[in-house]
Symmetry: C2
Subunit: 337 residues, 2 copies
């Protein structure tokens, strides 16, 4: 990239090409009719000067900025990142640029960003969250469309895109049943966490329906490896015949796997382990590598971007859009034979 170090305007191009500014505009935008020679001369002049039309001036006229705001609540953490990446993919197609705003879970900060974004005349806003609890909407009756990604809005009329965690949980349970497991336990995060509660109830339900109820109670605790290790040691005392542990997250699953090995149980021969998140960093470092439910966060972000583009285009899709998860099978759940 070579720049002149100075801003060059359409007037400079016009002067160099020996035509008027109107002609330059038409020539470069392929509009109106004109001699090929003229168009070529203008193009050459623009290239020579490295002219790039000001998006600012253009926006003022068109009323569109081709810019969206992305508000994330969790400092680009492990959930927002893939969501943002997917959103960026979709928005790129519409030639949109994204303002990134990290609200750091502070409502004051968030409102500040909303105001800033509206003042900058963004065409739309994506709100990406870390928790799956329905969240307070960023505003009512805003002048631009808003799409919530991963963390749905508490207002069901808002447009939200989420992972279908219940479906993901069922697919994990069915996988364990299909590979011959019958004594399945569940270790997960805090009961107060919506995702932990939902995954637990979905797992219990799926197992009931299959006629092989959960072994013992749900082990609610924290999202750490330490909790996974602690819980599985206690569980082995109460239910030594367990043959599979479904975990609410990959970190918990890693703790569970480590403790099982240290207690002399072979994974997957004696006990299968399945996690949730498919956080490759954790799942692949596990010994053996961990089977896990992928929440398809990138797809959630992409969908959010697509729905936002459509809404900007006058085709809104209110309501909750639920996307399926994807079970990624690795060695930790291979059949026991």
């Amino acid at each position: 990239m070579v720049g002149s170090g100075r801003r060059v305007g359409i007037a400079d191009v016009a002067a160099l090409a020996g035509v008027s500014v109107g002609t330059v505009s038409k020539a470069l935008n392929g509009r109106g009719a004109m001699r090929d020679e003229t168009r070529a001369r203008v193009r050459a002049a623009a290239d020579e000067l490295g002219f790039a039309p000001s998006a600012v001036a253009r926006s003022l006229l068109s009323g569109r900025t081709f810019t969206v705001g992305v508000i994330t609540t969790d400092s680009y953490g492990r959930f927002s990142i893939p969501v943002m990446r997917g959103a960026e993919d979709a928005l790129g197609v519409g030639e949109m640029a994204a303002f990134l705003c990290d609200s750091r879970d502070d409502p004051i900060r968030e409102q500040h960003y909303v105001r800033t974004l509206l003042a900058r005349r963004v065409d739309g806003i994506i709100v990406a969250g870390r928790r799956t609890e329905p969240r307070t909407p960023i505003g009512h009756d805003l002048p631009v469309p808003v799409v919530y990604a991963f963390a749905r809005s508490a207002d069901p009329d808002d447009c939200s895109v989420v992972s279908d965690e219940a479906e993901g949980t069922r697919s994990a349970v069915e996988h364990l049943l299909k590979t011959g497991r019958r004594r399945i336990a569940h270790v997960t995060g805090p009961q107060s966490h919506a995702s932990a509660a939902l995954r637990a109830s979905s797992a219990v339900e799926a197992l009931e329906e299959a006629g092989t109820p959960l072994v013992g109670d749900v082990w609610f605790g924290g999202w750490s490896e330490a909790w996974g290790r602690y819980a599985v040691r206690a569980m082995l005392k109460a239910h030594p015949d367990v043959d599979a542990v479904f975990c609410g997250s990959d970190t918990v699953a890693r703790g569970v796997t480590d403790a099982l090995r240290e207690e002399g149980r072979s994974v997957p021969h004696d006990v299968a382990v399945v996690g949730v998140d498919n956080w490759s960093l954790v799942a692949e470092a596990c010994r053996p590598p961990l089977t896990s439910v992928d929440l398809n966060l990138e797809a959630v972000g992409r969908r959010a971007g697509e729905l936002l583009l459509a809404a900007i285009d006058g085709r809104p899709s209110p309501g909750v859009h639920s996307l399926p998860c994807r079970l990624v099978v690795r060695d930790s759940s291979a059949p026991p034979n």
Copy 2:
């Protein structure tokens, strides 16, 4: 946040307040002299309509957008994220909004983003990278200032902000020596990786100077836990009397720690372990928690933001700006006694 659902302009406010647009502008911006009553009336009208002046129109006039571009090469990975967070902190002070561009290590994509950002008339650009190898600059003689963060520019006249990895390495080695270790080994990533090579040579040098040369050769390999486990097992055979392992990253260190424990060596009683990155996720999950060199990425980003603001303000600071690291001591390097 409540919006009208419709865009309201300065003319609407003027009509409601019964004054001219010029007066509204002055009233809201606190410029010029006018009766208090008039100013209050205008303010009330603006509030009632929820008026927010268009940053677009304002930019067209002022020639400034109060917007910067942040180009990241690694999909908001674990290095870019803290850098971006720090940059955002600094830029927020200047009321700057940031366009986020993920080049995904693709030069074509990167050039596309540079053009887009310039067309949008950003006031400056920050380039954040993942690798510490000097990188090809994004352009020469661009019309706006550019600051490189973490990954320095190959052009020494460009402004770059980096972590002082050599200093960080020395602080880790000195810490081990101070706590009584004398037989120190080094396990790290691929030799072809600039960070691995630099950290290794700095460690070797620091140990030479202290009169306690490195035990054996540097163990170059990969950045994985598996490599850490493999290397330490081989090392224990060759040098069973090693009493500390300095690792090129936290993941390697975690593998090293796990294998030491499994081989019956107590950490830190028999062998101390120190990593680099202070990636809390890994360092805190380690058994015992890992002492690690923090690269202060957030500070690097913050500094980059500050330098960019200064450059935009006409006070550029060309050259490489090196920031110190910070040793975070945890249990894995407690004295042996």
